[in-house]
């Protein structure tokens, strides 16, 4: 009887231990969303990128090992208007021929308490790399986790919109990047 109980406890421990070491690393891009918001003549506009790849590894218990790498296909941009979609892949904006992708590579993530975190990393657009910091929330449910957050960049830091388009009274400098990344867990590699 006692032996059986021991076995049961051991079994439970076995079942419980891997759960705490869950690493979320299978990004589901079709459930994820990468959007941005900007102002054009004081008119709020919404856009998004429909194609991107993401490699992510996140275990809340082992933040030091967490990492994220997101690569966005510039040509998949949807600025909210077809006329602008054709314009922004051009040289003055993203110059998509020379710089087909935008990338974010995380450098550190730290806990802010609860489900809130702060991720910092390098954002590269059009050959220019800048440090960015963004708040992130992480909402796990079972083996599915959702990262959500937003941060603001200045488009002119990356020369997005050169020449006549550098005029920020027509298209605002600030662009808010909003992300929602859905990621599934697989057991952590030891």
């Amino acid at each position: 009887m006692n032996g059986l109980r021991c076995l049961l406890v051991a079994g439970l421990l076995c079942a419980v231990t891997p759960v705490s070491a869950l690493e979320f690393n299978q990004v589901q891009t079709d459930e994820s969303r990468l959007a941005f918001a900007y102002e054009q003549m004081s008119v709020p506009m919404d856009g998004r990128f429909s194609k991107f790849k993401a490699q992510l590894a996140f275990d809340p218990a082992r933040l030091a090992k967490a990492s994220a790498r997101i690569e966005v296909d510039v040509a998949s941009i949807d600025t909210g208007s077809t006329e602008a979609d054709a314009e922004v892949v051009g040289k003055a904006w993203f110059d998509a021929k020379r710089f087909p992708s935008v990338s974010f590579v995380s450098s550190a993530i730290r806990a802010l308490g609860g489900n809130r975190y702060e991720a910092s990393g390098k954002l590269s657009i059009k050959g220019k790399t800048r440090d960015v910091v963004t708040p992130v929330t992480f909402q796990p449910s079972g083996n599915k986790g959702i990262f959500e957050g937003s941060f603001t960049i200045r488009r002119l830091d990356y020369a997005i919109g050169e020449g006549i388009w550098a005029d920020v009274s027509a298209v605002a400098d600030e662009v808010k990047i909003k992300f929602r990344i859905v990621v599934y867990a697989a057991p952590a590699k030891k």
Partner: protein
């Protein structure tokens, strides 16, 4: 013995004339511009003027409803009286409908209308490409109809003034005595 419109009615009439003479060619010009900051600005100005026209028309209708306009000259043929009434009614109608069609088109194309960059108008229709293009054509056809009616309106006023030599034009002119 000219019986004139009220100063308010005259002011609103000529202010509207200036706005319409500005906004119509602006609309035609900006439409074919390649995308540039100037184009975005011109579109905004066009939309701001359009909303202003709409507001002023409401004001005019309110004024018109509470102030009887001076009567038409004696002895005018019945068909002319009827035509005058019809053209004026259509002018008012189009001055309301053209801005509304532009506003709806803008919403359908995914651009909010923010009056003078300050007052955000609600989007009454959701973003819808096909609807946006259809409303664009509606806006264009109605704008040209309005322009045509204005030509008719001006021609009739000039005919009254120079051929019939009555006071139809004079009573709306911004100069002269106000009683």
């Amino acid at each position: 013995m000219t019986q004139r419109y009220t100063l308010t009615a005259i002011s609103l009439h000529w202010l509207m004339a200036v706005l319409l003479f500005g906004i119509f060619p602006l609309g035609i010009y900006m439409h074919d511009l390649p995308l540039s900051p100037a184009k975005l600005q011109l579109y905004s100005y066009h939309k701001w003027i359009g909303v202003t026209v709409f507001m002023l028309v409401l004001l005019r209708l309110l004024w018109r409803a509470t102030h009887k306009p001076p009567p038409l000259p004696f002895g005018m043929p019945r068909w002319q009286e009827w035509a005058s009434g019809a053209v004026h009614a259509l002018l008012y109608l189009l001055m309301l409908v053209v801005p509304v069609s532009g506003w709806l088109m803008s919403s359908a194309k995914g651009f909010k209308t923010v009056w003078f960059g300050i007052v955000a108008l609600p989007d009454l229709v959701a973003k819808d490409k096909a609807l946006g293009e259809w409303l664009g054509e509606v806006h264009e056809v109605l704008s040209f109809t309005l322009a045509l009616l204005i030509v008719l309106h001006v021609a009739a006023a000039l005919k009254h003034h120079f051929l019939e030599r009555d006071d139809v034009l004079r009573r709306m002119l911004p100069w002269g005595d106000f009683k």
